[in-house]
């Protein structure tokens, strides 16, 4: 059962990501990404990590994608990149793709060489909370500060100059 589910979820997520890359309309791409995130959530669920699975679905497939779609649909994104910028975009995309490939290769090599560490049966939500508030308290709080700065920045950017 778990094996069948694993293959279903992985095929759906790979297919959805491919469809996301290949679809021309940005809103369709965003919807495919929602599907990819949802099936990734399913994979996390199969790995006995319910907290990560739920967070993946609610925060990524839920909240962030709603905001993303909202932005995509209020601006007219159909036009795409203008012609004179296309060579630069292509070059940047190739460089980024190579970097990403190298990183995936490194990660895969270390994973294949070192035997997988035994994952505990179920990563309890309480244990994650304890880790966040004890061991990783400073990074956690610094992240919240960063998000706060981003929020204030966004408000400052959209605020009209005349104070209205």
């Amino acid at each position: 059962m778990a094996a069948v589910l694993f293959w279903v979820f992985s095929c759906v997520s790979i297919g959805a990501v491919l469809a996301m890359i290949l679809s021309r309309h940005p809103a369709h791409a965003a919807l495919w990404l929602v599907l990819a995130f949802a099936s990734l959530g399913g994979l996390f669920g199969l790995l006995a990590a319910p907290f990560v699975a739920v967070v993946q679905i609610i925060i990524y497939a839920g909240a962030i994608m709603v905001l993303f779609l909202f932005v995509l649909m209020t601006i007219d994104a159909k036009a795409g990149i203008p012609g004179e910028k296309r060579t630069f975009a292509l070059a940047a995309a190739i460089v980024l793709a190579l970097l990403l490939l190298a990183e995936i290769g490194l990660a895969a090599r270390s994973l294949l060489l070192a035997p997988a560490a035994a994952v505990s049966d179920s990563i309890k939500t309480a244990a994650i909370g304890r880790l966040l508030f004890e061991k990783y308290l400073y990074p956690f709080e610094i992240t919240s500060l960063l998000i706060m700065a981003a929020l204030v920045g966004a408000v400052a950017l959209v605020k009209k100059k005349d104070g209205a």
């Binding site: 809103a27 369709h28 319910p50 679905i57 839920g62 909202f70 209020t74």
Partner: protein, 323 residues
């Protein structure tokens, strides 16, 4: 035997068949209560007391001409009603009616199903927004943006309000929350404030008066549904009905002690409690008139969210002092 049970669960009760019949019954109940409160008769024609009217409406719409606008995003436009109905039907399967094991997790009841259910109930809102956007009609798009604007208002207080009884019960699983309150019914009184907040939020989620802003027919024709007709509109209306039943079921599972006592007793409790919640929602619909969208968001953040936080504080206090 287990496979037969699962199949029965998926198709008959509380799956497809039961949900179709019961959600149309709930629509009739809602319309009848609403009409009586306004000194009208409501549906009278089809069946005894008009009880079959929603089903008649459904089949009438199914037989009507189905038009897809030329400039619409056709694939999305056609897929959305089906996906929306599938989502709410899936959400209904998570209501703890029967076929669950208290100790172990099954496909319909597991640790965290409360959160999954809340998420599945917020998906129809996104689908309505996409429906408005895919129609490429000015009225639909305005309706769609209003759907999302409202979502940003009521979603946070709803989640906070529904999660506070779960915190008191110390579980994210609907069956365990319900069992906790069945053992200590007096603790349900602690959550009254949260229940009120959640009721208002569910009313907003279902886009009923005073929150019927996304399809305010005096301003923006049919809102999100302007371009929808025939089968697709019928499916959307069924989706809204099932969503009402599932939301009422969620509120009764979390705030009213759930549906314990096996198949028959659980069924009776389910019907009584969901009808009670739907009666309250109809009452709210009859008592109020439409707000503006900015008033909804302001109300949600100024009153509903702080009240939900207050409920959370009360719960933490009670948990520390009593339990």
């Amino acid at each position: 035997m287990a496979a037969v049970k699962t199949l029965l669960y998926l198709v008959v009760y509380p799956g497809l068949l039961f949900l179709f019949v019961y959600s149309t019954f709930c629509e009739w109940f809602d319309r009848k209560v609403y009409a009586r409160l306004q000194n009208r008769m409501g549906p009278t024609h089809t069946g005894r007391g008009g009880i079959l009217q929603p089903i008649a409406d459904f089949f009438k719409l199914m037989a009507k001409e189905d038009i897809v606008p030329d400039r619409a995003d056709k694939k999305l436009f056609k897929a959305l009603p089906v996906v929306g109905l599938a989502v709410v039907l899936t959400a209904a399967l998570l209501l703890p009616l029967w076929h669950y094991q208290p100790g172990a997790s099954t496909f319909n009841s597991f640790q965290g199903d409360l959160i999954i259910l809340l998420y599945l109930l917020s998906l129809p809102t996104l689908i309505l927004f996409l429906a408005g956007w895919a129609s490429t009609n000015a009225f639909s798009i305005i309706g769609g943006t209003r759907v999302l604007t409202m979502l940003f208002g009521y979603e946070v207080p709803l989640f906070l309000a529904v999660l506070s009884p779960a915190m008191l019960a110390g579980s994210w699983r609907l069956v365990e929350i319900a069992a906790f309150y069945q053992h200590r019914p007096y603790l349900l009184l602690v959550n009254l404030l949260g229940f009120a907040v959640a009721l208002v939020c569910v009313q907003a989620k279902l886009e009923r008066t005073p929150f019927d802003i996304p399809h305010a027919e005096t301003e923006i024709v049919g809102g999100t549904f302007t371009e929808y007709s025939g089968k697709k509109l019928a499916l959307f209306r069924l989706m809204t009905d099932v969503e009402m039943v599932v939301s009422a079921g969620l509120l009764s599972a979390v705030f009213l002690g759930g549906f314990g006592g096996g198949l028959i007793l659980g069924f009776i409790q389910f019907v009584l409690k969901t009808l009670f919640v739907i009666f309250l929602l109809s009452l709210m619909r009859a008592l109020t008139s439409r707000l503006r969208v900015d008033q909804v968001v302001a109300m949600a953040w100024k009153y509903l969210a702080p009240l939900a936080v207050l409920q959370l504080l009360i719960v933490i206090l009670v948990k520390g002092l009593v339990l």
